[in-house]
């Protein structure tokens, strides 16, 4: 397995699995690239993440990322938590295989989305204390009308299944 020992540990013994029924915020993101989903529940006390829990439908990396980011976020202030980046999570996990880096997006996006959901509730934008979803569709931006390799930004062939310039596989119906 190309996963680091830290990833394997968090995958096999995931921390903070579950839901918080009376959560203050819920973030839920789905990754249309591979059909995975993550829900993050937060309990906020004094602007601090008192509790963080997750449920994840996804690969080993996605589960490890969920476990790691919830562990990292717990106890932090909202501002600190919002600063946790994808790269931080990947680094804390001892690295992720290149084709799994997008799974760390999933984690940070869900956490940030949960915090935003909490803030929106507080400001009255959405109903508080409901488990209604504040879903943020998680779609990679398109190249803007043309057909570009998302890795090296070379213009690519309409029918290309890899970028002839950097050799990277072009995900799905790549953007054009």
């Amino acid at each position: 397995m190309a996963y680091s020992p830290i990833v394997m540990d968090h995958f096999k013994n995931p921390r903070n699995v579950g839901e918080i029924l009376d959560a203050d915020g819920l973030g839920e993101v789905g990754n249309p690239v591979c059909g995975d989903m993550m829900s993050v529940y937060i309990k906020v006390v004094d602007n601090r993440l008192e509790d963080v829990k997750f449920k994840t439908f996804g690969c080993g990396a996605a589960i490890a990322v969920s476990s790691m980011i919830t562990s990292m976020a717990k106890g932090k202030t909202l501002e600190e938590a919002l600063k946790i980046s994808n790269a931080d999570v990947a680094e804390a996990l001892g690295g992720l295989p290149p084709n799994k880096l997008h799974c760390s997006n999933l984690g940070a996006d869900a956490l940030h989305s949960a915090i935003k959901n909490y803030q929106d509730r507080k400001s009255g934008k959405v109903k508080p204390l409901s488990l209604e979803i504040d879903k943020e569709p998680h779609v990679k931006g398109t190249g803007g009308g043309k057909c570009y390799c998302p890795y090296c930004e070379t213009k690519v062939d309409d029918e290309a299944h890899f970028c002839m310039s950097c050799g990277q596989e072009l995900p799905h119906e790549h953007d054009h």
Partner: protein, 390 residues
């Protein structure tokens, strides 16, 4: 605990007879089969022996067997070779939606070169409808390619029927028999195909070695241009060590099939029944009867396949998943989507492929541990919760 290896689709261990043949060849022969001298002679003899062994497995003439670097090359050769050979006659090709990537991507390249492709839908079991094939034929059609058995769901296609239609319309017909050859009886005469691809690593031979059956008179251009090897149909110094392995594997497969087939089929039934009984809400993929006897594919709802596969590996069980997450390309399997699965369900798909070394004890271990693992993952899944609270 010995490994319970249930991924014979990805790789098979070498058959002891294959090992022996390859090791011996490697130790003693180094000549070039094209060299007309005492060094080339044993090499040429080894090459022709392997050709006869492969021909015997599929009931072909040895001259009709062309060695390739595997199933992918055989498929590329069949499709691109006929496309170029018959480019003056027409530029339309018919195939199905659930072919292997080596077929689909060859056709993608041909599209770039101004060929047109009709790709047929399959039913929920993955079956291609021969009538749909006939309907898709135009005066421009030069080639039909439909696989003998699908490598993800095991469905066996009605090849003889489609071949008859192709014959009636005088269209070249190719079948990708990589997943089937060496596992079930494959007879090019009964099938009535012009071209058939096979690969050694599906039946205990080495990886990266295969063959393309080319019926005498089939108009096909080489894929690898160059020297005069393989009766001028496939240039390049032969991978003789590998070819010797393919030959030995073909002979062993033919010999052992009557013995292995019923045993493996029974083990698969045991696995299927046990999993269906032990795990609620799983969907079996592929055709209930017209199916490879060693392959069992099922989609486990609410969870993703890679994590399931990894937890099974922790129990010493090696299986395959068709989850997008595990695919390298992060795309959902076109085969599963083709049979009508949605993306979430496709994500939870495991493929078990049994082999000559699979035991009842191994299957029972799977049945013992898998339900628990599934439950652990489901308990972690946001969709599982949602479905069950909704």
């Amino acid at each position: 605990m010995p490994l319970i290896y249930l991924d014979h689709l990805s790789a098979t261990p070498l058959h002891p007879k294959v090992k022996e043949a390859m090791t011996q060849h490697l130790e003693t022969v180094f000549g070039n089969p094209s060299s007309d001298n005492q060094v080339g002679q044993p090499a040429a003899a080894a090459l022709e022996k392997a050709r006869a062994q492969v021909a015997a497995l599929i009931n072909a003439e040895p001259k009709e067997v062309v060695f390739t670097s595997g199933g992918t090359e055989a498929n590329n050769h069949a499709l691109k070779g006929v496309a170029i050979g018959l480019r003056e006659k027409g530029r339309h090709i018919i195939t199905s939606n659930i072919e292997h990537k080596s077929v689909l991507n060859s056709l993608r390249t041909l599209r770039l070169l101004d060929y047109r492709v009709s790709s047929l839908d399959v039913d929920q079991y993955g079956l291609v409808d021969p009538a749909a094939v006939e309907k898709a034929i135009t005066p421009e059609t030069i080639l039909i390619s439909v696989m003998l058995a699908n490598n993800e769901i095991g469905t066996i296609e009605p090849i003889a029927d489609i071949a008859q239609i192709a014959q009636k319309h005088k269209i070249v017909f190719h079948t990708d028999a990589v997943a089937a050859t060496g596992i079930i009886p494959v007879d090019v005469q009964k099938l009535g195909v012009n071209l058939l691809s096979l690969a050694a690593n599906q039946f205990y031979g080495p990886a990266g070695v295969g063959a393309l059956y080319i019926r005498k008179g089939t108009p096909i251009w080489p894929l690898l241009d160059g020297g005069l090897q393989e009766n001028k149909r496939r240039a390049g110094s032969e991978n003789l060590i590998g070819i010797v392995g393919l030959g030995a594997a073909a002979e062993a497969a033919a010999q052992e099939m009557p013995m292995n087939l019923p045993r493996i089929k029974a083990l698969k039934e045991r696995l299927a029944k046990g999993l269906i009984a032990g795990i609620p809400e799983i969907k079996v993929n592929g055709h209930p009867e017209q199916c490879l006897p060693h392959l069992f594919s099922a989609s486990v709802t609410y969870i993703e396949g890679e994590s399931l596969m990894m937890l099974l590996e922790d129990e010493g069980i090696i299986v395959n998943t068709r989850s997008a997450c595990a695919s390298g390309s992060l795309r959902a399997s076109h085969v599963l989507i083709g049979t009508g699965l949605d993306h979430a369900l496709a994500q939870g798909t495991l493929v078990f492929t049994l082999g000559r070394d699979t035991t009842e004890a191994g299957i029972d271990h799977v049945l013992a541990v898998m339900p628990g693992i599934v439950q652990t993952l489901r308990d972690m899944s946001p969709i599982y919760k949602k479905e069950h609270t909704a």
